[in-house]
């Protein structure tokens, strides 16, 4: 059983981890694979680096209590914990409000379209290496650039003094032009994974089921698979 003393030690390790980067050090602590001593495992478990989602908690512990880019409740998968039935009715309501604002006629069967989706226009986005999935509202975007911007903000950008979801302070990522470490891919209605950007925006929004920010190295197969005889332009 774990003793208080050991736990206490692990905690102080964690505090150290806040200021210094113990990432490399802790990796070395794992003497044997498959969880050698209880030590190594706990050491690994407790470093700040291991919790991309905990970035926000650490920031809260320190001076700044703004909370590091805390995920908006409507952007995290399965959160807030409201049953899909209720979510659908909320979504239908806001869709109706939007339509009324646009002075369009409200269709009678509109709520029916929302059956399986959690929220109208919201689709899931996952990023390789990030534990928390997010959601993005496609309806709130008008172009690929827009969307890329939002995703970069969501996963990479940080407010001054806080840590982004992936624990990095980074410059703009340009996930659409193929020059960065990550590419944006999507799963379409047929279940195929495609690179984002090839079809007109409107067509994309009707066929996309979900998004994935993939490591470029892994996406290479994807590009090759979908290569067409005529060179495609990626914008």
């Amino acid at each position: 059983m774990i003793t208080e003393l050991e736990m206490g030690k692990a905690e102080s390790e964690l505090e150290l981890g806040l200021g210094l980067s113990l990432g490399g050090g802790t990796a070395a602590k794992i003497s044997k694979p498959g969880g050698g001593g209880a030590w190594g495992e706990r050491g690994r478990l407790l470093t700040a680096k291991d919790f991309p989602s905990v970035g926000s908690k650490r920031a809260a512990d320190s001076a700044s209590h703004a909370g590091a880019s805390p995920p908006r409740s409507s952007q995290v998968v399965g959160w807030p914990p409201i049953g899909s039935h209720r979510m659908n009715s909320l979504a239908a309501k806001s869709a109706r409000e939007e339509e009324e604002a646009g002075k369009k006629k409200v269709k009678d069967d509109e709520p029916k379209d929302v059956t399986k989706k959690v929220q109208v226009g919201f689709i899931k986005v996952n990023m390789d290496g990030v534990a928390i999935g997010r959601k993005v509202d496609l309806n709130a975007h008008s172009s690929y650039e827009n969307l890329a911007q939002t995703l970069e903000d969501m996963f990479f950008r940080s407010k001054p003094g806080t840590i982004g979801l992936t624990g990095q302070f980074t410059k703009p990522l340009r996930i659409l032009d193929g020059s960065s470490e990550f590419v944006l891919t999507y799963e379409d209605k047929e279940g195929d994974w495609m690179l984002v950007g090839d079809v007109p925006w409107r067509m994309f929004t009707t066929s996309v089921k979900r998004l994935r920010v993939m490591k470029t190295s892994e996406a290479n197969g994807l590009a090759a698979r979908h290569q067409e005889p005529n060179e495609r332009q990626r914008k």
Binding site: E41, V54, A60, G78
Partner: protein, 579 residues
């Protein structure tokens, strides 16, 4: 040896209906076990994979009523793949084959097919009651079979199911001879309803006490329905976004006035304020009111309505009622036992003056001495408020607080909410269910482990710092049955510390935590009486399995484990791996 003959003992057992008590009785002696099991009429199975239908029937041959639950709770929030499981069909097949005289079937979060419903309707001649909650997989065709073939149907209650509405004539399928209905709820159906068929059905059902229609039943139809069923106790109305004209309004009000037995009101997926006022005459009789789908209604209309509802015991409402509205509830509804406040607008990023805060919660706790269950969605909370609530309401059985933004601290002190929740568990000695939110450290779990002695279900999200947190709970809460955790830094150490603990629990859910494949495999090896399920996103499944096989340090996306006496289930989809 028993002092009395078996028949006498059986007769005595007849007076004991609670499942817990009957389970206890069956443990007293072999003889009592036998008498109990042979006379048991009603069985509750909290996890359909903990046992199989054959063994159930073997043990309880006189079974009349069965309750089954399938998917884990977090399936409600899209965290469980649709194809995960929870199929009722094998149960119905087995019960039919064994000629069980089934009268009642209640299902929650299970997959039901039209085929299942058809088989059900043909196999049990005395079938009386079907209750489906949060189920899916069937259409109105299945309902048609039930309507047509279950000659003695008394109750058809469909709550929040995903039903494919073929807009058929299922209501027409109730034979003219069917007059035994006591309860009919089809509020979750999305399509058109055959109004004539519905009215005829209601007219020939003098025992109908509960009627909940879907949104497609217009005002004039509702008026006619209420007119021919003034005996209704429980009414769910449709959607009425347009203000009625004077004549319709008068007719509606007249019909409502006649429903002197009405105690429970729900539905209202849209309702024009004027429609709501038609119900004023019966407000004072209401003990249960659900206006939580009426997103269009402004707070002031809600408040005016509730001011008349002095006998309310249960209130489900939207946060558009505001703190002011909750203060009115607190001063009006002195009999209030259960309150649920749902969010009305999830897109609102700015501070919304009309939403509820800690002020409303404190007001309710101060004004409603009988309050024992609460579900409260809000944007902010403070420790001081929670401490006050705990002092005011030590009788909570269920306390579920959902602060919309994950990790949000006390907004006045910027501290974690450990002390607030700590006060709740310390004061509420009978607390059975707790849901946490906001910024929380390991400390809150220390408090929970120390004080929450009766706690059976705990929901954790974005909370805790280290494995200590989870360990406090596992070690301290002796009565824990269901533990569900998401996005919290608990890992293998906590998972593996006390494997036998899981013998006393129904299930454990952990998603986006720190447990690894290696840890889960080790658990599965040490606890063969557990099903340890790993659920992965379906993407690149082959790739994932390869990677997983190589690296046991790979974190597990979703882990669901549960005790079972029948081993690994055979119906798991590809995205589920049972270790």
């Amino acid at each position: 040896m028993n002092y009395f003959p078996d028949e006498v003992i059986e007769h005595i057992f007849d007076f004991i209906s609670s499942h817990k008590d009957r389970n206890s009785i069956s443990l007293v002696s072999k003889s009592w076990h036998k008498i109990e099991r042979c006379s048991r009429k009603s069985v509750f199975i909290g996890n359909c994979y903990a046992i199989n239908p054959e063994r159930l029937i073997q043990r309880f041959p006189s079974l009349r009523s069965l309750t089954l639950k399938g998917k884990p709770h977090f399936a409600d929030f899209n965290l469980v793949p649709h194809e995960w499981g929870g199929f009722v069909h094998p149960w119905i097949v087995a019960l039919a084959k064994a000629r069980v005289e089934l009268e009642e079937l209640r299902l929650k979060r299970m997959v039901v097919s039209d085929e299942s419903l058809e088989l059900l309707s043909r196999s049990f001649a005395s079938f009386k009651s079907l209750v489906l909650v949060s189920c899916e997989g069937f259409t109105t065709d299945g309902l048609a079979s039930v309507a047509a073939n279950c000659r003695h149907l008394r109750e058809l209650d469909l709550q929040e199911n995903e039903i494919d509405d073929h807009r058929g004539q299922w209501l027409n399928c109730f034979p003219e001879s069917s007059t035994a209905l006591t309860s009919l709820n089809f509020s979750c159906l999305k399509g058109e309803t055959n109004l004539a068929a519905l009215e005829r059905l209601v007219a020939r059902s003098p025992n109908l006490e509960s009627l909940k229609v879907n949104r497609a039943v217009p005002l004039d139809a509702l008026t006619r329905l209420m007119s021919c069923a003034p005996q209704l106790v429980d009414l769910g109305v449709g959607s009425y976004e347009n203000e009625p004209d004077q004549e319709s309004f008068m007719k509606l009000m007249a019909a409502i006035k006649k429903c002197t037995e009405l105690r429970s009101l729900s539905g209202f997926s849209e309702v024009a304020p004027l429609c709501l006022t038609a119900f004023y005459p019966i407000c004072q009789n209401l003990t249960s009111l659900n206006l939580s789908y009426a997103a269009e209604i402004q707070g002031n209309h809600l408040i005016r309505f509730i001011q008349f509802c002095k006998r309310l015991q249960r209130l489900w409402i939207l946060d558009s009622i505001g703190d002011k509205g909750l203060e009115v509830v607190a001063s009006t509804c002195k009999e209030l036992q259960e309150l649920r406040v749902f969010p009305s607008d999830l897109h609102d990023e700015e501070d919304n003056d009309t939403a509820v805060t800690e002020i409303g919660l404190v007001a309710i706790s101060a004004g409603c001495p009988k309050l024992h269950s609460i579900l409260y969605f809000c944007k902010q909370m403070t420790n001081a408020a929670l401490i006050t609530v705990a002092k005011n309401c030590p009788n909570f059985i269920r306390f579920r607080l959902c602060i919309l933004e994950p990790n949000k601290p006390d907004h006045t002190t910027s501290q974690s909410l450990d002390e607030g929740f700590g006060a709740i568990v310390q004061a509420c000695k009978g607390l059975r269910r707790l849901s946490l939110s906001g910024l929380l450290t390991d400390k809150v779990f220390l408090y929970i482990g120390m004080y929450a002695e009766q706690l059976e279900m705990l929901s954790i999200a974005f909370a805790g710092d280290t494995d200590k947190g989870m360990l406090y709970v596992l070690n301290g809460c002796k009565k824990m049955r269901k533990l569900e955790i998401r996005d919290s830094p608990f890992g293998n150490t906590a998972l593996l510390a006390d494997v036998d603990k899981y013998r006393t629990m129904r299930s454990l859910w952990m998603s986006s935590c720190e447990v690894t494949l290696g840890g889960c495999k080790r658990l599965a090896r040490n606890a063969p009486w557990l099903n340890v399920e790993i659920i992965n996103e379906n993407e690149n499944n082959d790739l994932m399995m390869e990677r997983n096989e190589e690296d046991e340090r790979e974190k597990v996306d979703r882990l669901y484990l549960y005790r079972t006496v029948v081993g690994a289930r055979k119906d798991a989809p590809p995205c589920v791996t049972i270790l």
